[in-house]
């Protein structure tokens, strides 16, 4: 089962506003390890064609791992405003 299928099992209420914003300048110039690309358990980070970091925040599990691991603090990270984001039915 791939990660998209797993995320498809969860209940998400989608906001129009992103709750994670990447400071592109900091991300591109200060960060050396790009940990977000492999630490995110939902695999939401990827580089676009121009090597700019992007985040598919709609599938965010709100664990905060990317925020904690982002050394140059290139992420402005907040919980989605209510009533948005993941709503776990079990967990």
């Amino acid at each position: 089962m791939n990660i998209d299928a797993k995320l498809g099992l969860d209940v998400f209420k989608l906001d129009k506003e992103p709750h994670i914003v990447i400071e592109q300048e900091v991300c591109a110039t200060v960060c050396t390890n790009r940990a977000c690309l492999y630490v995110c358990p939902a695999d939401l980070y990827e580089l676009d064609d121009e090597q700019r970091m992007t985040v598919n925040w709609e599938g965010c599990l709100e664990c905060g791992t990317c925020m904690i691991c982002c050394e140059p603090r290139a992420l402005t990270w907040n919980y989605p405003r209510s009533p948005f984001g993941v709503q776990y039915r079990m967990s």
């Binding site: 492999y38 691991c69 079990m90």
Partner: protein, 428 residues
């Protein structure tokens, strides 16, 4: 500005436990929960140790919607193509149960209802955006455009401290002190679960896995049997993952693990129903911030109250206990009409006298011990290799049992590195 006596930020176990105690004593309390319901944003492994908290709110635990009392404890050491499992089945684990498996959306919603029955107000769908400060004192909260004042704020916002940190109450979480935990909830019929883990009807098992599941990184796998599902997941230290995890995406650890021939039969026929993730505070006592101040107390994960002691993993019992003691301290402050730091100081005193900070103190060395490189690579493999040697009959003559065992012990457990580890382990 509207004002209430007590605001609780976060309707998880710590916040609800505090609210239950406050409302039960007649205090005016409002719980603000950002999810659609309590538990909507919460993730556990999960198992709750009830023995430490049975004395708090004893009327609650008899009727709580737990999943299964844990009657079997299993620890699995994973080597290369071989697993060794130690299994404890004990009458005394389950009668009375010392721990239960839990599903948070069920447990937390039920506790929120109990708070309501006591007269507390639980407001779901209300994300707090800021703790309001005035002259160094926490005086209330802001949620969107609304400001609500309070005599005291119970900050039970969870591990990320998105409110406590900007307000200067606690440090920003850092990778070294935190782990990522994530899991799949896999549905299986109750009878299948009981057959697979050799359980009597209604009883549960907890199984922890050390070794190749995290590919040598700090962490491990876990499996808890719920009523009609299992929670199967991985915990991996953030610092270790950043340093050594580049070759594999974090979520693939679980996928690869599930495919191992030793794990596959455990989940066969199951249907994945949910996928969830959460950060876990693992800094231990050294990273617990100041627990109270003028107009506030910190409780649960926000206070860093959790303990990974390798074979026992705790947090929810600390959350409930810290909520209980927070309520007691606030009620004392309320009686004295003093919600300053001095008025709330009995909170930390009570936690220090209780199992919460005592157990964290006992485990002071654990975060350092967990960083030993051999712990998640060499030892689980070596244990499996040892037992494999002992059980193997090859072609030709077989050495005596003791000869085989000693050979393995000398090879893998008696060298400079392992003896150094043992020296540190004496403090565990």
């Amino acid at each position: 500005m509207e004002k209430v006596e007590c605001i609780v930020v976060g309707g998880g176990l710590a916040g609800l436990s505090a609210a239950y105690g406050l409302a039960g004593a007649g205090a005016e309390v409002m719980v603000l929960e950002r999810g659609d319901y309590s538990g909507a944003k919460n993730v556990t492994g999960g198992r709750l140790y009830v023995s430490p908290i049975r004395g708090f709110y004893p009327e609650l635990w008899e009727e709580a919607p737990f999943e299964r009392p844990v009657a079997r404890e299993l620890i699995t050491m994973m080597g290369d193509g071989a697993h060794t499992t130690f299994e404890l089945a004990s009458d005394r684990l389950a009668h009375p149960p010392q721990s239960y498996t839990v599903v948070r959306a069920r447990l937390d919603q039920w506790l929120a209802e109990k708070v309501g029955e006591k007269g507390g107000m639980v407001v779901p769908g209300m994300k707090v955006d800021e703790l309001l400060r005035k002259e160094g004192r926490i005086v209330g909260i802001r949620a969107g455009a609304d400001e609500i004042g309070a005599d005291v704020v119970v900050v039970a916002e969870g591990v990320l401290r998105l409110l406590a940190e900007p307000a200067g109450l606690a440090a920003r979480p850092v990778d070294r002190d935190h782990a990522l935990g994530y899991k799949e909830v896999i549905e299986l019929p109750a009878g299948v679960i009981e057959d697979r883990w050799n359980l009597n009807p209604g009883e549960g098992a907890a199984q922890l896995f050390l070794g190749s599941v995290t590919q040598g990184m700090l962490g491990g796998g876990f499996l808890y049997t719920n009523k009609e599902s299992i929670s199967l997941g991985v915990v991996v230290g953030m610092q270790a993952m950043k340093a050594d995890g580049r070759e594999i995406k974090s979520h693939e650890l679980l996928d690869r693990w599930k495919e191992l021939p030793q794990i596959k039969p455990l989940v066969a026929g199951g249907t994945v129903a949910e996928y969830s993730a959460h950060a876990i505070p693992e800094g231990g006592i050294a990273k617990v911030p100041r627990l109270y101040g003028d107009g506030y107390v910190l409780a649960g994960d926000a206070a860093g109250l959790s303990l990974n002691a390798l074979v026992t993993v705790r947090g929810m019992d600390f959350a409930i206990a810290s909520g209980y003691y927070a309520a007691q301290a606030i009620l004392r402050a309320r009686q004295a009409g003093d919600f300053s730091a001095a008025g709330l100081a009995s909170y930390e005193v009570a936690l220090r006298d209780s199992f919460v900070l005592k157990d964290l103190e006992t485990a002071r060395i654990y975060p350092q011990f967990m960083e030993l490189p051999r712990l998640f690579t060499h030892y689980p493999t070596a244990v499996s290799r040892l037992f494999e040697d002992v059980f193997t009959i090859g072609p030709g003559p077989t050495p005596s049992l003791m000869k085989k065992a000693w050979k393995g012990i000398r090879r893998d457990f008696l060298n400079l590195g392992t003896l150094q580890d043992a020296w540190l382990a004496r403090k565990l």
